[in-house]
Assembly symmetry: C2
Homo-oligomer: 292 residues x 2
């Protein structure tokens, strides 16, 4: 890719996220869509030789798919959201990315992702204290996909309800496949790693589609100490369309990834390792003038 | 400086900010105070050979002092807050820093500074829309120093009052030097570049000290479009001790500057060019685990 040439973006996986990425790419001036590839089209994707691949496949399939793409020398961005697995996946993909001279951005959504950047900033400004992340109310895409993957679930929707101080309730609305018992499916959901750690209610409904709404939100708050001074308070609140924001963040992050690739900074990064200016389209000088 | 050796920090200028920097350094585990130097001790400061100099001199003296320090091969962090001059100062100091193989971080306070990072992040998440920055109520250090510098002013305090949508009122409380007329001093304040663009009220009081309070706050808000989806809302609110937060940010930024110096990334940077993780004490892997 030459300077001033458009970034050729491929989308791998075409669900909510893939579609949101497509929309976000369409309103940029520095990117062009190289192609949209379904789940089973890894070969065709590699043959298309994009500058970067944005993954819209379910989180559980992300590590393997990213590894395969990096080994083909392709840069990647994903929104892997299984928080507990991030350190291990990050370490492994960092080695793979370096070996294959590529850049991979892991967990580039809003949480993990931009919220992580805000948590890091809050930590730097207020090194001593507690940060609370309160999600919702809203539909969690990761939890919804996890519920849909349970045997016997025809359709599902998982709502996240904030109970304060980082404690959440999961409201899981399900439609059953014929021949499955509610009790058995409910227990499978309650034991799934996505749900096992929170208060979870599984509710059977006739039609999940009627409940669908991709609105979501988050409230990050930290109260603590700067230097030796207590009672320093910072809060961030968002009210958002969830896939639209995720798609937008992946596209902004793809731009950062390409800049890092051009600077030879090969490896796998989470968003707290990125400079905010690299996420923005256009010239550095202009943003310093407008934003600083 | 070797890896795992403590960063030797010098403080240049010892007012509110210099004292807050001293406090913030005292609670780190990775820094040690090399010395505190007053305004007129540039020679003694250079002789002490710190790893980095944190400047607590008035903003108007920052560009010249930073240039002098960079030319002596010293890394610097300042909290220069004259927004309109930042692009020019940044460009000039970037050349000086590169020529002298040093790292300089410009405007590392909370605004400009960490707020700039949040504005950049908001811009990346919501590329189309309007961001409002509403300050206060609180004492503006930059405006207070500017008012104190006016001839005939014995003491001053400038309060920033948010009127919403980025519009502010300045309440300037002054004590006069003997022999000066209120009207003449008031007009000099109203024509100063710090005050000329806002609604400003100058009030004569008997004792400015009685009004003093370093509490401050800010509300950043953006409503706009992610991809093609409207009504995406993000807000940040802070309620803080102003010099304590500024000192803390300068110290966190000094850490980032030293990491950048070790990576050979010489030059002058604003905070939107920094990765949040570089602001944090300790190992990268641990923060990825805790914050992402």
């Amino acid at each position: 890719m030459q300077k001033n040439e458009k970034i050729k973006v491929a989308i791998f996986g075409y669900g909510n996220i893939g579609k949101a990425v497509e929309e976000a790419v369409s309103v940029t001036n520095d990117m062009t869509l190289a192609g949209i590839f379904h789940h089973d089209e890894m070969g065709r994707l590699q043959a298309c030789q994009p500058d970067i691949v944005l993954l819209g496949v379910p989180s559980r399939e992300v590590p393997k798919a990213v590894e395969q793409l990096l080994k083909a020398g392709l840069n990647t961005v994903d929104s892997f959201d299984i928080h507990t697995q991030i350190p291990t996946v990050h370490k492994h993909l960092d080695e793979v990315a370096r070996q294959n001279k590529a850049v991979s951005i892991l967990s580039a959504g809003w949480d993990p992702g931009s919220d992580s950047m805000v948590r890091a900033l809050m930590q730097a400004l207020v090194p001593q204290g507690v940060t609370f992340t309160d999600f919702g109310p809203g539909r969690s895409m990761g939890h919804t996909v996890a519920a849909k993957n349970i045997e016997g679930v025809k359709d599902a929707l998982s709502m996240t309800i904030p109970l304060g101080t980082g404690i959440h309730r999961r409201m899981v609305y399900i439609e059953l496949e014929e021949g499955y018992s509610y009790e058995k499916v409910r227990d499978a959901i309650l034991h799934d790693d996505y749900f096992a750690h929170d208060e979870t209610h599984v509710i059977e409904v006739d039609n999940v589609k009627d409940l669908n709404n991709v609105a979501h939100g988050v409230h990050l708050s930290r109260n603590g100490v700067s230097g030796t001074t207590h009672n320093q308070r910072i809060e961030l609140t968002m009210s958002i369309n969830n896939p639209a924001l995720t798609g937008q963040i992946m596209v902004a992050t793809a731009r950062a990834a390409m800049r890092m690739a051009q600077r030879g900074q090969n490896g796998c990064y989470t968003m707290i390792e990125l400079a905010p200016i690299d996420l923005l389209e256009g010239e550095k000088e202009e943003w310093i003038k407008r934003l600083v």
